[in-house]
């Protein structure tokens, strides 16, 4: 099994629901975002790009690309970053030594570091007293702590394809929360899966393909009319 994702940029409306769902389900502290949606070329999200009265507006969601040839895993001196049996790149929060080599190595800027204590950062943010968010229980993959609502300070983290859900056969939060069904999730090894079919039948691209990182996140190019 090789889990992967197809993101249909024609369908993406740039609403950032997936960012919020991801953040909430995965208990990301203030200032930390595993998943981002931006309008390429624009200084502000949701603003049109163009000149001479010709404008366009496309959106590009970027989270961990789940590389088959992951630089973050190769540079990790202690093997805290590893690929599980389903091809998902995970971080062991109990092994990471916080050297941040993976942040320098990742070409996609998806890796996030716990510069401060995430619990304290949440308390200092403007949330109403008593409000909390995030899947509440730890999740261990063969004994390795790959999800915990409050990450230890001084470790790196990133998208896990919602390991706490997908290990049970559910879809990641961003896929379920997308109002326009722009995200399709499934097994790239299964030729009958929807992701495999889309990659086979449609023209897809991957980010920074020239670096040879072999991402398992594929994009369907946007085909919106120029307005």
């Amino acid at each position: 099994m090789r889990l992967g994702m197809v993101i249909d940029l024609t369908r993406c409306i740039g609403c950032r629901s997936c960012m919020v769902a991801c953040k909430a389900h995965n208990s990301q502290p203030p200032g930390t975002w595993w998943n981002r949606v931006f309008t390429p070329g624009a200084s502000f999200h949701q603003s049109a790009v163009g000149k001479d009265g010709e404008f366009q507006m496309n959106f590009l969601p970027v989270s961990c690309q789940m590389c088959d040839n992951p630089p973050c895993q190769k540079v990790c001196p202690v093997g805290a970053t590893y690929t599980d049996e389903r091809g998902v790149v995970l971080v062991d929060y109990e092994r990471c030594i916080g050297c941040r080599y993976c942040l320098a190595a990742c070409p996609y800027g998806v890796r996030q570091f716990n510069w401060e204590d995430p619990r304290k950062a949440k308390e200092q943010a403007g949330y109403m007293k008593g409000y909390d968010y995030g899947y509440p229980e730890d999740y261990r993959d063969q004994g390795r702590l790959v999800y915990t609502p409050d990450r230890p300070r001084g470790v790196a983290e990133k998208c896990t394809f919602c390991v706490q859900y997908t290990k049970n056969g559910e879809s990641p939060a961003c896929v379920r929360a997308c109002p326009s069904k722009a995200r399709i999730f499934g097994d790239l090894d299964d030729p009958k899966s929807e992701v495999s079919r889309l990659i086979r039948e449609r023209q897809t691209f991957r980010l920074k393909e020239e670096l040879g990182t072999e991402p398992k996140v594929f994009y369907l190019a946007p085909a919106k009319p120029v307005r």
Binding site: G41, R111, Q112, E116
Partner: protein, 434 residues
């Protein structure tokens, strides 16, 4: 004696400042630095690379004595080994505060990932530290035997002084010959930490390892030169002028190689005209032009000075040239970070719109009033906390060197022309010269 007490005191004070501030950083987290997700390595890694660079001198100087028969450098092999050992300690001390979880450092031993250049660096630097220590140890052994002091010398009790001297000579030579490849390796591997990363255009060049070696030969030799000149003092300067000149020429020659490699590297970044490459150059010469000017101009001055007859033979110009070179090398280490982290690897091209290099924003990892969470560049400047912690390795090196100079004899003896020495034993046990 007064001067060495001052240096020792200064070293201890710097070390204490670094340690106390590190304690504060441990309590608060790396948030007290100005590093953030888009700019994740800063002053600490630059300072680490700086100390790795100056650690080369020791074994390069002592190995050249044996390999290339540069006999006139011989009086300075002890001090060279000491400076190398101290700098390696400094580099190691600097890397610890950079770690988010220094308490888990044992994972490097328990779960090493041999694909990671960081693990290669841990291995070669540990070996180098051991070798430089042995180099110092074997060279001091005859003194210790004679004076009945020092450490790890129980096994010499049943040997005669002559036997110990023979062992010292033989093993000093062996250590420095084994050490030379390691001296080369620590720079190669430290450079490979950066050069292997295809995501960072500024680092991803095969020129980086040879350039690190060139810089290391220059700055490492300059460190030995500086310590030797200062230790010998003005009065006895003339006696060792030949050795000093030799070292100055090694520095200048290595800098020629460095500038050649820099020129080729810049040309290749520019020639193809790739938007990312041109953006890096605009960062190098524009936004960080001042730091880059320091990196280029000061070592260039040192190079010319050390090639000139006058510059390589005067007490003052040798000190000035070496000091300026260190500032230039430090700027070089900082310039590893500035352009590299401000050219985001994930840049988007929108051909129909004339946009070729749009940096996809990165979350900083901190929510702070009035500050954006997502940024397209990060104007990193170290915080006071970072500067204070970066004093730790400087303090450690000053302390170790001044303590060693005070306790044992690392200097050529007054009036003793050590050119005649054959096995590194032409030193007196007179420590008063410090």
């Amino acid at each position: 004696m007064k001067k060495s007490s001052f240096v020792l005191g200064l070293g201890l004070a710097l070390m204490l400042t670094g340690l106390v501030t590190w304690g504060y950083q441990i309590a608060r987290g790396l948030i007290v630095t100005n590093m953030r997700n888009p700019f994740s390595w800063g002053l600490y890694i630059s300072t680490f690379a700086f100390f790795v660079g100056i650690a080369a001198g020791g074994l390069i100087v002592s190995s050249s004595v044996y390999l290339f028969n540069l006999e006139r450098l011989k009086p300075f092999t002890r001090i060279a080994s000491l400076s190398a050992f101290a700098s390696t300690l400094g580099a190691t001390a600097m890397i610890l505060p950079d770690m988010g979880r220094v308490d888990r450092i044992f994972n490097l031993v328990l779960h090493p990932n041999f694909r990671s250049p960081l693990v290669w660096d841990v291995i070669v630097i540990t070996c180098y530290m051991l070798l430089t220590f042995l180099s110092v140890y074997f060279q001091l052994l005859p003194d210790w035997k004679r004076d009945g002091r020092g450490f790890f010398r129980g096994w010499t009790n049943n040997l005669s002084l002559a036997q110990v001297q023979a062992i010292s000579g033989r093993w000093s030579k062996r250590v420095s010959i084994v050490g030379l490849p390691f001296a080369i390796l620590i720079h190669t591997v430290t450079a490979l930490i950066f050069a292997t990363q295809a995501s960072r255009g500024w680092w991803n060049t095969a020129i980086l390892p040879p350039d690190f070696i060139a810089m290391a030969v220059a700055s490492g030799t300059a460190l030995v030169l500086l310590i030797s000149v200062l230790a010998v003092g003005k009065e006895r300067f003339a006696e060792y002028q030949g050795a000093f000149k030799g070292m100055a020429r090694i520095v200048a020659g290595a800098l020629v190689v460095h500038f050649f490699l820099v020129a080729v590297d810049l040309l290749i970044h520019w020639w193809w005209g790739k938007p990312e490459g041109l953006n890096i150059l605009s960062l190098v010469f524009g936004r960080y032009g001042l730091v880059y000017a320091v990196e280029l101009v000061l070592p260039a001055f040192t190079m010319l000075c050390f090639f000139s007859q006058k510059g390589s033979s005067s007490f003052k110009s040798l000190i000035l040239g070496s000091s300026l070179l260190f500032i230039g090398v430090f700027a070089h280490r900082m310039m590893l970070m500035f352009p590299s982290f401000n050219e985001f690897p994930l840049s988007i091209a929108l051909p129909g719109l004339g946009i070729e290099n749009w940096p996809y924003p990165i979350a900083t990892g901190e929510l702070k009033e009035g500050m954006p969470v997502f940024v397209s560049s990060w104007a990193y400047t170290p915080t006071l906390v970072e500067y204070a912690i970066a004093l730790l390795p400087f303090g450690l090196v000053l302390t170790v060197v001044s303590l060693a100079l005070r306790l044992y004899n690392f200097l050529p003896h007054k009036g003793n022309n050590s050119l005649r020495g054959k096995s590194g034993i032409s030193y007196s046990n007179d420590t008063a010269s410090v």
